[in-house]
């Protein structure tokens, strides 16, 4: 088995080398940026909206100790069973327990990254249940036996031809390259599932403490059907999703849509608080909310980085990230890809195996600039690097740093180094790009420009004159 780092390097090289795929990724992401810019322009004051959203989420995180019990108590008052789960094991047990208690056979799911985190589908399938993902993108990657490529656009890496081939093979559908017809094929398959399924599993984008409701954002209506038709509804939600007030949604929902998909509001934004109440004509008989910690409290304990818990999973930071654009989503090997994934994965799954994600960053700050709740993403990547260096900086690394600081503190030595470097650069010309080149590894994939005609120090001296 390869380590996450080896897997990352291998996959990154492969994806980055595939010009076609990269072009495809790039063009879909640039389309997104254009739409988003337009939508953002409709805000009267987008900057203040972001600041206010960041503030709401800050307060939520800093008051989790009060908001979580308030949220749970309000849900329970409305007949919802709340399951507090410390980790994936607890959550899997709780969910299986509910499913068994109902003698359920078939399960329909609407998109929920938290269940990816705990590998729920795998478990349920191994236990012999039929589990169908109802979000179109998730449905496609599920048929392919793959993880989502992007936590907002799970099948964004696939062209219609590949989807056609997949559907023909797995669903015996007619040959078509038309996205509309492909969508209708999935619609037909899933329609019956909503009616037949015994249990519907969904995620939650927000948990409203004040009223005891979860809020689900979607475009397709699959989450609405998943939570309306089966007789049991289980919502799986990370503990960081709690917000104080219902009215906060008036700001958070449009921001999530704008940053996430470039829409001004997604197709359906639903708030659910409980199973069918007296006097209601439909809805599930039972509702369960699975509240998952799974190392979120470990991140909360980090005074410097806890603000990463503010993330509303809009996916915007992935869409603008030069690394994501080049290596693609699967390369990360994580539930959450892109900058936010690189920031939180080391907390959720261990720094030593996942610190390489923080090294794979251009630190350009595009993610921080785009984040609707102002998470300081690129500085967190730096902090992860610092933390990992402090924890386990290698001997070689510390030797290098010592030499570096020795040289930097001696201007004459620094100047000499520069001169030697220039000479070396010229002398090495004949072997540049060949295996004899000591910088081969670097130069094989990068340009190494000629140094400027004059160094900064020389220019400085001249100007002073």
């Amino acid at each position: 088995m390869s380590t996450p780092l080896e897997q990352f390097q291998h996959d990154a090289a492969q994806v980055a080398g595939d010009g076609d795929q990269r072009q495809f990724l790039r063009s879909s992401l640039s389309g997104y940026v254009t739409t988003r810019r337009g939508t953002q322009g409709r805000f009267q004051d987008y900057t203040s909206a972001r600041a206010a959203a960041a503030e709401i989420k800050w307060n939520a995180i800093e008051n989790l100790d009060k908001l979580l019990p308030q949220f749970a108590d309000n849900l329970e008052a409305r007949g919802v069973k709340v399951h507090w789960c410390r980790n994936g094991d607890d959550a899997r047990k709780a969910i299986l327990g509910v499913i068994h208690a109902h003698g359920a056979k078939s399960i329909v799911k609407s998109k929920c990254m938290t269940t990816e985190e705990i590998h729920l589908n795998e478990l349920l399938e191994n236990e012999g249940f039929e589990v169908v993902e109802s979000d179109l993108g998730e449905f496609i990657v599920q048929l392919r036996g793959e993880a989502p490529y992007h936590f907002v656009f799970p099948a964004m890496h696939l062209k219609r031809g590949a989807i056609n081939k997949l559907f023909k093979e797995k669903l015996k559908s007619a040959d078509t390259d038309d996205p509309e017809q492909l969508t209708m094929i999935a619609r037909e398959v899933l329609r019956q599932k909503y009616l037949d399924a015994d249990v519907g599993i969904s995620g939650a984008n927000f948990g409203v403490a004040e009223t005891g409701m979860i809020s689900i954002t979607e475009n397709e209506g699959n989450a609405r059907l998943t939570t309306a038709m089966p007789k049991v509804h289980i919502a799986v939600m990370g503990i960081e999703k709690v917000i104080p007030k219902l009215d906060d949604l008036a700001l958070l929902l449009p921001l999530l849509a704008t940053a996430g998909t470039g829409q001004h509001l997604t197709g359906y934004n639903s708030q659910l608080g409980g199973p069918r109440q007296a006097g209601e004509v439909d809805g599930p008989e039972e509702m369960h909310v699975v509240l998952l910690d799974n190392h979120r409290t470990r991140l909360l304990a980090d005074q410097e980085q806890r603000d990463a818990l503010r993330c509303i999973r809009c996916g915007a930071c992935l869409n603008v990230c030069p690394i994501f654009k080049n290596v693609g989503g699967h390369t990360y090997g994580t539930t959450y890809q892109g900058p936010i994934g690189s920031v939180i994965t080391p907390h959720l799954r261990g720094l030593s195996s996942w610190k390489h994600l923080s090294d794979s960053s251009s630190l350009c700050g595009a993610c921080t600039e785009t984040c609707p709740v102002q998470i300081d993403l690129h500085h967190h990547l730096l902090r992860n690097r610092r933390n990992s260096a402090q924890k386990q900086g290698g001997v070689l690394e510390s030797l290098q740093m010592r030499i570096f600081s020795f040289v930097m503190r001696r201007p004459w030595l620094y100047g000499l180094g520069g001169k030697l470097g220039r000479i070396g650069h010229v002398l090495s010309r004949p072997i540049q790009g060949t295996k004899l080149d000591p910088l081969y590894k670097w130069r094989a994939t990068r340009d190494f420009p000629d140094p400027a005609a004059k160094t900064f120090k020389e220019q400085w001296k001249e100007r002073r004159r």
Partner: protein, 223 residues
């Protein structure tokens, strides 16, 4: 089965005992504290709102129809029924819905008091009232209480929402204010804000309507 409420809350409290590092607590305060001043505009007068709702409807591919009164609304419904060859529709008991569907000659399935999901699935349209329309986003706000349950507005392939003139609100903050006034004593189990028909862009980011829910959304504003 053991429940880990106290274990998790204990960890949360433990973590929060240490305050956030002031260096990273750097949210810049918004210029004002009034969300209306930041969000997209909602329209000052009723006419502004109608125009804005129409603009968004166009973008969202909602068909937005304004009529003077209920009998005109009924006429529009009859026209659509004929055009699309409806044979059955889902409805619920609501004065506005009843006034507008009175002339429909197709069979009607009412969700009042429960219904057979397979039958509702076969209906050509679901016709519902709503709680509000939102000009700022071109949305329909409805709840299980106002719109005949959860499924009527999402299971049939065409959702027709009917609203009265005074239900057209400027923005989302006013919509939540209204919901609070109306339901805070007993919240319905489901509320939703609908913006356009069901849609997806999962295949090459090309917009397709009717992914799982209604392929068509018609909003009729009466008065």
């Amino acid at each position: 089965m053991s429940d880990h409420r106290e274990a998790i809350l204990g960890r949360v409290r433990e973590a929060l005992r240490r305050p956030t590092d002031p260096h990273v607590r750097s949210t810049s305060a918004p210029a004002t504290s009034e969300p209306r001043a930041w969000l997209p505009a909602g329209g000052d007068t009723h006419d502004d709102r109608v125009a804005l709702f129409a603009e968004w409807s166009d973008k969202l591919k909602t068909s937005f129809i304004t009529v003077a009164d209920e009998s005109q609304a009924a006429g529009e419904l009859a026209r659509i029924a004929a055009e699309e060859g409806w044979t059955s529709v889902g409805v619920h008991t609501d004065p506005l819905v009843q006034a507008c569907t009175g002339q429909l000659t197709v069979s009607q399935l009412s969700t009042d008091g429960g219904y057979d999901p397979a039958e509702l699935e076969k209906c050509d349209a679901g016709i519902t009232a709503c709680d509000a329309l939102v000009a700022q986003t071109g949305s329909v706000v409805l709840t299980t209480a106002s719109a005949g349950g959860r499924a009527l507005s999402v299971l049939p392939p065409h959702h027709v929402a009917i609203a009265r003139r005074d239900q057209l609100l400027p923005d989302l903050p006013s919509a939540y204010e209204l919901l609070r006034q109306r339901y805070a004593a007993a919240w319905p189990s489901f509320m939703t804000i609908i913006s356009g028909p069901s849609r997806t862009g999962d295949i090459e980011r090309i917009l397709v309507l009717g992914a799982h829910g209604p392929k068509k959304l018609t909003v009729i504003l009466v008065g």
